[in-house]
């Protein structure tokens, strides 16, 4: 049963279509991420849910009520901004209590709720400080508390972590997710960072140029990208042009090298041009295990990335990256040496155009 539903949403600014026929149903308590590059329409979609933009066409319903054209201050959805947007003239406590005080709640009620929220974000010591006295991470926690204080039906997060340091980004991400689960609140999280989206979400909506590319769990999005855009945008990926050689057996030809794929290509004809993708971590150097694809290659370059080592290899005329986990006893091949790499047929994905 969907709690928040966006149906046939289209948004135009002048002649530019920013969001094109967007459809999504979100269940109560679900954490959904909108993932995509800047300009893909993810923030505009979020702002339509908040009421800062009104769709050119389409409907938004929340808990059965049509809120498409409701004023933002009548909606009861909480929003968190990339720039925190804390009111500089108010203390932490006053910021958190703002939504309640404009609702003319009683002083005692506001105080109790503010204390509760401050405890939730662990800023008890800072209740009477002004925003400028806090670090970025602390400010964003206050902003989270401020949005939650009004007990919103939906929590909207517009790239809330983008302005923060890498370390804080990861810890605050976990904190947001924990609080969201604890309160069971429905949340939409906008980000351009795939790792963030993968780690925090129940479901991800990948968007590109106003269109939904794919909707699915992080597992599905990562392992079974349906379009080239998703495959490229989520995780790092090798893609190559290929030709169907035997549709019935799943054989394709990449630059003169035969690969077998588990993807269904029976509907294609021999000689059809297609694109295949293989994630770098699905390759490994030839070992004793029997693999579907065993390929001769030349090592071209080796890049040390910390936890993984990325090795660029040339198979036929096509270049591929392969990732292998780093460990102190790893023996790396010499650049220029001939090797064999393997991958399973499930690793070779055929992409929709």
């Amino acid at each position: 049963m969907s709690y928040l539903s966006l149906s046939n949403i289209t948004k135009q600014f002048g002649d530019t279509v920013v969001v094109d026929n967007f459809n999504l149903d979100i269940a109560k308590g679900e954490f959904v991420s909108f993932l995509g590059p800047s300009g893909c329409g993810k923030t505009t979609t979020l702002r339509m849910v908040a009421g800062f933009e009104i769709p050119t066409s389409g409907r938004i319903t929340l808990d059965g009520a049509d809120i498409t054209e409701k004023a933002p201050n009548q909606r009861n959805v909480g929003m968190i901004f990339q720039s925190y947007a804390l009111f500089p003239n108010m203390t932490v406590a006053q910021n958190i209590g703002f939504g309640l005080s404009v609702r003319k709640e009683s002083k005692e009620m506001i105080k109790q709720r503010v204390d509760e929220m401050i405890a939730l974000i662990n800023l008890e010591k800072h209740a009477n400080k002004y925003p400028y006295q806090l670090s970025g991470g602390q400010q964003q926690r206050v902003s989270l508390a401020r949005a939650l204080a009004i007990q919103p039906q939906v929590l909207l997060l517009d790239e809330p972590l983008s302005a923060l340091d890498a370390k804080i980004r990861v810890s605050l991400r976990a904190e947001i997710r924990a609080i969201q689960k604890k309160l069971g609140i429905t949340a939409i999280f906008v980000t351009h960072d795939q790792e963030e989206a993968l780690s925090i979400s129940d479901r991800i909506v990948v968007m590109n140029t106003g269109l939904m590319e794919q909707v699915g769990t992080p597992f599905e999005i990562y392992n079974f990208p349906q379009t080239q855009f998703v495959a490229n945008f989520v995780g790092s990926l090798n893609t190559a042009n290929a030709e169907v050689s035997e549709p019935a057996n799943g054989l394709v030809n990449v630059d003169g090298v035969q690969l077998i794929t588990a993807s269904d290509i029976k509907s294609r004809k021999k000689g059809d041009a297609i694109r295949v993708s293989i994630r770098p971590e699905r390759f490994s150097f030839a070992d004793n295990q029997k693999k579907d694809n065993v390929l001769d290659c030349t090592v071209e370059n080796i890049t040390f990335l910390g936890a993984v080592v990325r090795i660029q290899v040339k198979i036929g005329n096509a270049k591929f990256n392969m990732d292998t986990f780093n460990n102190p006893f790893l023996e790396l091949p010499k650049i220029g040496s001939k090797q064999q790499v393997t991958c399973s047929k499930e690793a070779v994905l055929v992409l929709d155009e």
Binding site: I54, T56, E69, A71
Partner: protein, 276 residues
């Protein structure tokens, strides 16, 4: 989008305030223009003709423009190096210099001019003797020019200093200077080819305001006895009716046009505040 939500976005009150203010701006100008045309219904621009035929008009008007240009030039020479030096080497002096540049707000023009007259109407002597080095500045033309330009520099100082300082802050002159130094530039090259071009629009806005302050200024010019455009208009206004109206209108229009042009040229960067 429904009609109601469109209506919610129409900035009704903004238009109201803007139009009220615009009327306040435009009506007096319009009335002045209208009045200047009523001298002789047969020759509508008679007031303008007569004004432009007057030799004194051209003399005072050009003189005021020259004074304005001189004020701008000397202000830049005084203020740019000072502001630059403070940003680069002497941040300790910032508070005191900022305080001084704000002083002209506290000391009105009329006070400044009487103070200057009191001091510089005395001859310059060798200390503790009666031997005169120079006659009083107020007694000869070059001397009064020094006084009035200095006075205008004081009046323009708050605006000039602020524009220049803001300009330097936005382009981060410290880094620019260090980059230029590391590439081997000397001080002259740094200031003339790096700093000045980069604070161009700030200089323009400061210069413009200085211009607007100086060209119609009356208090300093009349008490120092300088034949500038302000006192000329003042005198004209006591004897005539139509010519001053015509000249008021023209001078407003000219200044506005100049400002508009410069804002176009500088890409809309120029702005600051005005003075009396």
């Amino acid at each position: 989008m429904s009609f109601l939500s469109r209506l919610r976005r129409f900035p009704f009150w903004s238009w109201v305030w803007f139009i009220v203010g615009a009327l306040y701006f435009i009506l007096p100008l319009l009335a002045t223009f209208e009045f200047s045309l009523t001298w002789d219904p047969a020759i509508p621009f008679k007031a303008y003709q007569r004004s432009f035929e007057d030799k004194d008009f051209w003399e005072t008007f050009i003189y005021s423009n020259v004074l304005a240009l001189a004020t701008i030039l000397f202000s830049i020479l005084l203020i740019v190096p000072t502001a630059y030096w403070i940003r680069l080497r002497l941040p300790e002096a910032r508070r005191i210099v900022e305080f001084i540049t704000l002083m002209p707000f506290v000391v009105p023009a009329i006070i400044l001019v009487f103070g200057m007259i009191r001091i510089y109407s005395a001859p310059f002597n060798v200390p503790f003797t009666d031997i005169q080095i120079m006659q009083p500045l107020t007694n000869f033309k070059a001397g009064t020019n020094v006084l009035i330009i200095s006075g205008y520099m004081v009046l323009a100082m708050p605006y000039m200093y602020r524009s220049v300082d803001t300009g330097m802050r936005t382009v981060d002159i410290r880094t620019l200077t260090e980059a230029a130094q590391s590439l081997g530039a000397n001080w002259f090259v740094i200031i003339s080819r790096i700093i000045l071009p980069n604070i161009r629009s700030a200089l323009l806005s400061g210069a413009l305001l200085t211009f607007a302050i100086v060209v119609g200024e009356v208090t300093l010019a009349s008490f120092l006895g300088v034949d500038a455009f302000g006192p000329y208009l003042f005198l004209l206004g006591q004897h005539r009716a139509y010519e001053p109206a015509a000249l008021s209108f023209v001078s407003f229009l000219l200044t506005w046009l100049a400002m508009g042009l410069i804002q176009l040229v500088s890409g809309g960067q120029g702005q600051a505040a005005g003075a009396h």
